[in-house]
Symmetry: C2
Subunit: 222 residues, 2 copies
DNA sequence: ATACGTATAATTGTTGACAATTAAGAGATT
DNA sequence: AATCTCTTAATTGTCAACAATTATACGTAT
């Protein structure tokens, strides 16, 4: 179907990269913890070579911090750091929405409407929060893809995305915004359909900025 | 002074990363060429281990493309790709300018004025294009730093920057925009000094968009 | 002459051992 | 008791050899 091929990584190093990445993102390996090469190598049943290559990639992804001759530690997402992520997200996804309004195919826009319907059903039946989260991501993912800018796509879907996922899993998250988010999504699709880049960008930026404010204030009250 | 400490990388792997990166960016290693591990290892007089780790980092930096069991090739910056870079740049540096208007210290703003003066002198004495290019980068660099967003800084100064440098060295570049650029820089500093984020962002985005248009049209005529 | 198959060579991927640096702990001194 | 130093242990960084995969070249058949 319209899905991306699963594409099993054919090299050990890249498989380890994916596995380690997910382990960090899901919190299986805890934030701030030191990564021991011998330990992990034994755990994955591989040699340290490919493991180190994987770590170098995660280092560039900002998921771990490397200090020469000391080791690597999993990053910790404190509030200021999360807010920084959302600022970058606002800039990039805003641009993506604008470009999507220019470049997205009619068929892809139809698919967006499909996602809106699914989202609406989930709210009415008050389906699990988890599905909501995933649904939200699917929607943003589709808009980003619609931009057609390969670099933008890779930056957002290949790097920032994992940081955002990590945050979501870490501080299981903001409720009560589901229906508001749906309204904002509807407005966005409308702007894209009207081929109005400026409006699409504005809506997306506000959407993300609200999300950011929500995180910010919620952090203060808890 | 006011410069970042050179900080010699204390590990072979990171030294190779920097050296290789610069070799690619300056065109010493030509775009599209295949990178042979044995050859480079001999050339750098190191083993393949650290070299491969360096390559994995460059891979994440988008400077090389890796195909399992085939090898890595240096990317080629064709026009569509460069335009994509400038779109991302517009989004990120626009955000950076806005944040700079909020967060930049008075001292840092003074330094911006200093750079404007230097830039102006260079134009009057019609100093070398090279200095102009570097000067332009210094200015943008300072604004980005002024944003205070560490993630944004790293994305722009640590990844995109090298792609932009690579493009500049490859297609040695657009002339006659020096004085216009200076005017735009002046406007930007003014907006930052007035603590007007929206205006600062707008000016920066237009500045980069013009640069992009310039590249686009120039590519058509040559 | 061209196309195909096979065998060889070269390159990438992986492993385990070695060297260098840093962290940890025991012991002596103040 | 606390601190400093020296020794030891563990971890990171590097290397060189091995395995697996892909590219190359040669020979053969059509």
């Amino acid at each position: 179907m319209g899905q991306i091929a699963p594409k099993i990584a054919s090299t050990l190093s890249s498989r380890i990269t994916d596995t380690l990445r997910d382990a960090i993102v899901t919190g299986e390996i805890k934030p701030g913890s030191k990564i021991s090469e011998p330990k992990l190598a034994e755990q994955f049943e591989v040699s340290r070579g490919p493991l180190r290559e994987a770590i170098r990639r995660l280092e560039m992804m900002q998921l771990v911090k490397h200090v020469p001759h000391e080791g690597v530690r999993v990053i910790t997402l404190d509030l200021p750091r999360v807010l920084e992520i959302y600022e970058v997200r606002e800039a990039l996804e805003g641009m993506a929405a604008g470009l999507a309004a220019r470049n997205m195919s009619a068929a892809a826009i139809d698919e967006l409407y499909g996602l809106l319907d699914i989202h609406e059903q989930h709210i009415k039946t008050s389906a699990g929060e988890y599905m909501q989260q995933e649904g939200d991501y699917d929607f943003h993912y589709k808009v980003i893809q619609g931009s057609g800018n390969q670099l933008l796509i890779r930056q957002l879907c290949g790097e920032l995305y994992h940081l955002i996922r990590m945050f979501r899993n870490q501080a299981s998250q903001a409720r009560g915004r589901a229906d508001l988010a749906l309204q904002e999504h509807k407005q966005l699709v409308y702007a894209i359909e009207q081929r109005d880049p400026q409006l699409a960008e504005l809506i997306m930026r506000r959407h993300i900025a609200r999300s950011r404010d929500n995180i910010s204030t919620r952090a203060l009250t808890t």
